[in-house]
């Protein structure tokens, strides 16, 4: 039996291995160094003791200053991994991320580049309310010059983090806080994923479930329930949201003729809308039913447990969306 690790351990290993391999890899953010306990969940624990507090730099609570420092260092050739503790806090640093990190390569005519990774965590389920849990990936995917990545397993968290650090462009790496402690197979150290490549996690002939991040685990459960009813679902894990793997998505939906896109972000104007539009453009004649989307309710993330549960997409939501494609 292979060893098990959780997401925190896998990401920590990826950072550690990347820093050991390349002196240019840096880590910065609130509380990331060891005197501050390596972050609120300990993802960066041990790194500053090993690589020093100039390379693993705890910062003030100042997201614009964090992103600015990361961008400046990246322009000179470093590969910073900047932690913006929670995804909602990226809103404070949007100018730096959107106007600068994403655009400097283009605006400079290719003279400068920003090989930067932004780590951020989010996700509802912990009762953290309206400003700590949003999935905002569509905003970033909508910006030319940014890549958006999110893992669904610890092993992928390792390989995708390594890929983001190695990439020449700014990458936003989204971690799901409520599943940080979920265990999975340990990564093979040194594995670097290819960005922009999806993975078929379960093969099926009747319907394609396209998802990424935490909701992949929902899709895996739902697929077993559907199988009991004779529906074979194929699960495609995007892994990279932008640019997403159009070929793998299209091949799966061409085969099944039915598609449900599942994400935790609210449904309107989301990643699901983009993929649905793409599929209807490419595969209109091969679709047996309209492409369906399942996401959170279009409201701010609520606090109270019953509200939070109703806000998030449920297994039943996915099942009824799948069944609607058979009507």
């Amino acid at each position: 039996m292979s060893a098990k690790v959780n997401f925190i351990q896998a990401i920590n290993m990826a950072l550690d291995d990347a820093m050991a391999e390349d002196d240019g890899v840096l880590v910065l953010g609130e509380d990331v160094a060891d005197p501050q306990e390596g972050g609120i969940a300990g993802v960066t624990k041990g790194l500053s003791s090993k690589y020093g507090e100039l390379r693993v730099m705890s910062t003030p609570i100042a997201e614009q200053a964090i992103m600015g420092a990361a961008i400046g260092a990246a322009i000179t050739g470093f590969r910073p991994v900047a932690e913006i503790m929670l995804m909602n806090f990226t809103t404070v640093a949007m100018d730096m991320i959107i106007n600068h990190a994403a655009k400097l390569r283009f605006m400079s005519g290719g003279q400068t580049s920003v090989p930067l990774t932004i780590r951020t965590m989010t996700g509802a389920g912990f009762g953290n309310g309206g400003q700590h849990c949003d999935y905002l990936e569509a905003w970033f995917a909508h910006t030319a010059g940014l890549k958006v990545v999110t893992p669904s397993s610890p092993a992928d968290a390792y390989a995708l983090m390594r890929a983001c650090i190695a990439d020449e462009d700014p990458c936003l790496f989204i971690e799901n806080l409520p599943s940080y402690w979920v265990q999975g197979d340990a990564p093979e150290r040194g594995t670097v994923a290819e960005l922009g490549k999806a993975k078929v996690l379960r093969e099926g002939s009747d319907v394609s479930l396209i998802s990424y991040g935490r909701t992949i685990s929902d899709c895996l459960v739902v697929a077993e329930q559907l199988a009991e009813e004779g529906i074979q679902a194929e699960i495609v894990d995007l892994r990279t949201i932008a640019p997403y793997d159009k070929a793998t998505v299209a091949a799966s939906v061409e085969k099944t003729g039915r598609c449900v896109i599942v994400h935790e972000a609210v449904t309107p104007f989301g990643v699901g809308a983009e993929i649905a539009a793409y599929l209807q453009d490419e595969l209109f004649g091969s679709l047996h039913a309209p492409v369906k989307r399942v996401g959170s309710v279009f409201s701010p993330v609520p606090f109270s447990k019953p509200l939070e549960t109703a806000f998030l997409p449920s297994h039943d939501d996915v099942i009824s969306a799948v069944k609607s494609t058979f009507k």
């Binding site: 400046g72 322009i75 106007n99 600068h100 400097l104 283009f106 400079s108």
Partner: protein
């Protein structure tokens, strides 16, 4: 003022050359825009010539600057090539950024012009990152962040000043206080008696200097740059100056105090510096005339180069968005 800090004759001549280059460049550029040879929005630095000239004679090509949309004087003073700057402003393929950035985003890493931003206040957080890179490499480079008095009221500036002070980044913050943020007078937008007072809140030296006085400006810049280079941390310099051409070329100046503007223009720092050089015996008339003629020729050449250069190929839209060209 210590005698040893005074600029010697060679330095004064070098400063005057840069001032005159900025002055002639601006006169010619405005004329080229007004006559329709070049089509662009333009934020003239006329009246602010001395500040970056006095700063830049204390910098090397290896030192970095981050500047802003009203920043062509800062780039020229730093040594960025006149021809390529003009071609960029003209939207030509031969521009510093292949015509993809324009006047608000001119970048020229070979002379240390690392970022030019169109977002008020955003030069400072990125300058910190360049300075952090110098700390990491221990290369003794200094980074200068230019910004205006209007920017001193935006949050990013304060986040950046705080972080620079905490981390002792080798950076110099140069606020060119021209009395107006867009169309609003200093007195209506800024609570501080003077911008340099704000340095006290960050435990860093803050000085207010007459930015149009070449010697005073040189002395203040040298002290701050030496301090940064020696590892003693950041300085805030408030350089008092005036903007002769309003916010954007063509604005009607209806918001400006006519008497204030008249007085400032009567005190034009460019002819004043020239006359002072002659009066003090630092230069002879023929010598300056020869220098100015060479600059005129250089600008003639830049204009001709621009007008004879091709516009960018539309295929450029797919290049430099990411490291890899888009399909």
């Amino acid at each position: 003022m210590k005698e040893t800090q005074q600029p010697d004759r060679e330095v004064l001549l070098d400063m005057y050359r840069r001032v005159n280059l900025i002055y002639q460049n601006d006169e010619r550029l405005r004329s080229a825009i007004r006559s329709g040879k070049i089509a662009t929005t333009y934020y003239s630095p006329r009246g602010q010539e001395v500040i970056p000239a006095a700063v830049s004679v204390n910098l090397t090509d290896e030192d970095y600057i981050c500047t802003i949309y009203r920043g062509v004087h800062d780039m020229l003073a730093k040594g960025a090539p006149v021809k390529e700057i003009w071609a960029e402003i003209g939207g030509r393929a031969t521009g510093t950024c292949k015509g993809k950035g324009g006047p608000m985003h001119i970048t020229h890493p070979a002379t240390g012009v690392m970022v030019t931003t169109g977002i008020v206040g955003s030069s400072l957080p990125i300058a910190n990152g360049l300075a952090w890179a110098s700390q990491l490499r221990d290369d003794k480079r200094v980074t200068v962040a230019y910004f205006g008095d209007g920017a001193s009221n935006i949050g990013a500036v304060h986040e950046a000043m705080n972080m620079a002070a905490v981390k002792k980044f080798p950076v110099v913050f140069v606020c060119q206080n021209n009395g107006y943020g867009e169309h609003t007078h200093y007195s209506l937008s800024t609570s501080a008696r003077q911008i340099s007072d704000r340095a006290a809140g960050y435990q860093m030296p803050g000085v207010t200097v007459d930015g149009n006085d070449p010697v005073a400006m040189y002395v203040a810049a040298k002290e701050a740059i030496d301090r940064a280079r020696n590892g003693d941390g950041p300085t805030l310099i408030e350089a008092k100056t005036f903007r002769f051409m309003g916010h954007v070329l063509g604005d009607a100046d209806g918001y400006m105090d006519k008497e204030e503007k008249k007085q400032a223009m009567a005190n034009d720092p460019v002819p004043r510096f020239r006359q002072w050089m002659l009066d003090q015996g630092h230069a002879q008339e023929e010598q300056l005339a020869e220098m100015e003629a060479a600059i005129t020729a250089e600008i003639d050449e830049a204009l001709a180069f621009t007008l004879s250069s091709p516009m960018p190929d539309v295929a450029e839209l797919k290049r430099d968005v990411f490291a890899e060209e888009l399909n």
